[in-house]
Symmetry: C2
Subunit: 269 residues, 2 copies
């Protein structure tokens, strides 16, 4: 009945985080064991190769066999560094988002709104520049270094705001979700353009034409009005949708913050 036999997952050398060995490696815990033969590969090199493959040929090209071939090793050797493909995905995702960019000195004077806005745009830029990240099915809460660094940066933006911790993390999740959703839609659009080989306007036009055939003023008055408008065709601003969503969220948050400050001011007076 010794209670040390339920550590059936980790090798025991790690910090007992419950994380897979490769992730403890990514955090810098877990030394290389000094025993066996020198490894040919390193985890960063594997991840780097997989990322290059994803960036170049898309996520579909990333298979264990293909990554191994790219590295000049056998497929199974990768499993010495990673226990499952999903783990490689997490590491790729972490490498793909990278560390959040450094803040300029003048950021010290910025308020939560400016900071959150820049946070959102920076994240969006990263996702759109590495849109293969969006094709990785993420499941579970973030546990990798860079993902947490981004979370920290988002929380820091609201450090001085009169919000509870629950509200802060909810805001981070809310805006993070928006960023991801919008970037994914943009990537889908891109894929459709590349696959069909026609212009963005033509893709949209085809979609509108299709919807017109299935809908009508009787069954779908709202959709019909939408299709008659220039909401789809008029491509005035490419990121209108993103901007609109972010502005609504931040306006709503501002209302909450101002309400809190009014209460606080009233109590102080």
């Amino acid at each position: 009945m010794a209670d040390e036999d339920d550590e059936d997952d980790e090798g025991g050398a790690g910090g007992g985080t419950g994380l897979p060995a490769s992730l403890e490696m990514a955090w810098g815990l877990r030394e290389r064991p000094g025993k066996g033969p020198r490894p040919t590969l390193t985890l960063p090199r594997i991840v780097e190769t997989a990322v290059a493959l994803a960036a170049g040929e898309g996520m579909d090209a990333v298979s264990m066999g293909r990554v191994a071939k790219e590295l000049g090793v056998s497929t199974m050797s990768l499993y010495r560094y990673v226990t499952a493909k999903e783990e490689l995905y997490i590491l790729m995702s972490d490498a793909g988002v990278g560390a959040p960019p450094a803040l300029p000195p003048e950021a010290a004077g910025w308020g939560w709104r400016e900071l959150l806005t820049r946070w959102a745009y920076a994240q969006r830029a990263v996702l759109m520049a590495n849109s293969w990240i969006l094709r990785i099915p993420i499941t579970g809460a973030p546990v990798s270094p860079n993902q947490l660094a981004w979370m920290e940066r988002g929380l820091a933006a609201m450090a001085d705001a009169p919000l509870t911790e629950g509200e802060k993390i909810s805001t981070i999740i809310l805006i993070g979700g928006l960023v991801r959703n919008e970037a994914t839609m943009a990537a889908d659009m891109m894929d459709a353009i590349v696959k069909s080989g026609v212009s963005p306007d033509q893709v949209m036009g085809q979609y509108v034409r299709t919807l017109r055939l299935m809908t009508g003023p009787d069954t779908h008055p709202g959709v019909t009005r939408l299709l008659e408008s220039d909401a789809f065709t008029g491509s005035d601003e490419p990121d209108f949708q993103f901007r609109f969503g972010l502005d609504r969220i931040l306006d709503g948050l501002a209302a909450l913050v101002e309400g809190r400050q009014a209460v606080q001011d009233g109590a102080e007076a």
Copy 2:
């Protein structure tokens, strides 16, 4: 140089929508051709079977072979009804969300905010009751009947609001994204609970414990504050996060609407 030879996808019997045959079928276009032998299966029966499988054993159990076995036919016979697995996914998704629920009579007196709130909650309820839907990788814009019905319902909620069509559809996408994100997180949580076999609090506790090991006040002050708070452990309200996000969005939208109405009132005076 005849221009009728670029219809290489659809069989020609359909309405020329550019949609795959199975989807035209779902829309009620495209009659059954009277020639060959009577089909053993029907598209709805295939979808129904696949949905039952997904609901019972999860999305991982849904393969073409398995669905066929469940129906007592050969794998390849399914390809007479669906050209690719992705198409079955779309049909499953459409069947899973179903038609939006009927509005009660008193809904006539509701404003856009109440209507949008109920729309969001109704959608969330459907996704959480059929969380396998969240495991289907969706790509591309909605083209199936029920998906469009939900979109229509959302647009209808804002029919009288002083918003442009572009703003309306952006709002639908914004809230729809929130609903999906939050439902997906809840489903991930559920999976973690089922897989580990422990209580929700224990899963959260393990996550917090893990994060504590990787973070510290120096490198992650915001995260540290978060972990010290009861944001994760205090499970006062299970849907706090969802409610919070929705309220922020609707508050932000309200600010926009009120601004518009003020301008309008000023012009009328």
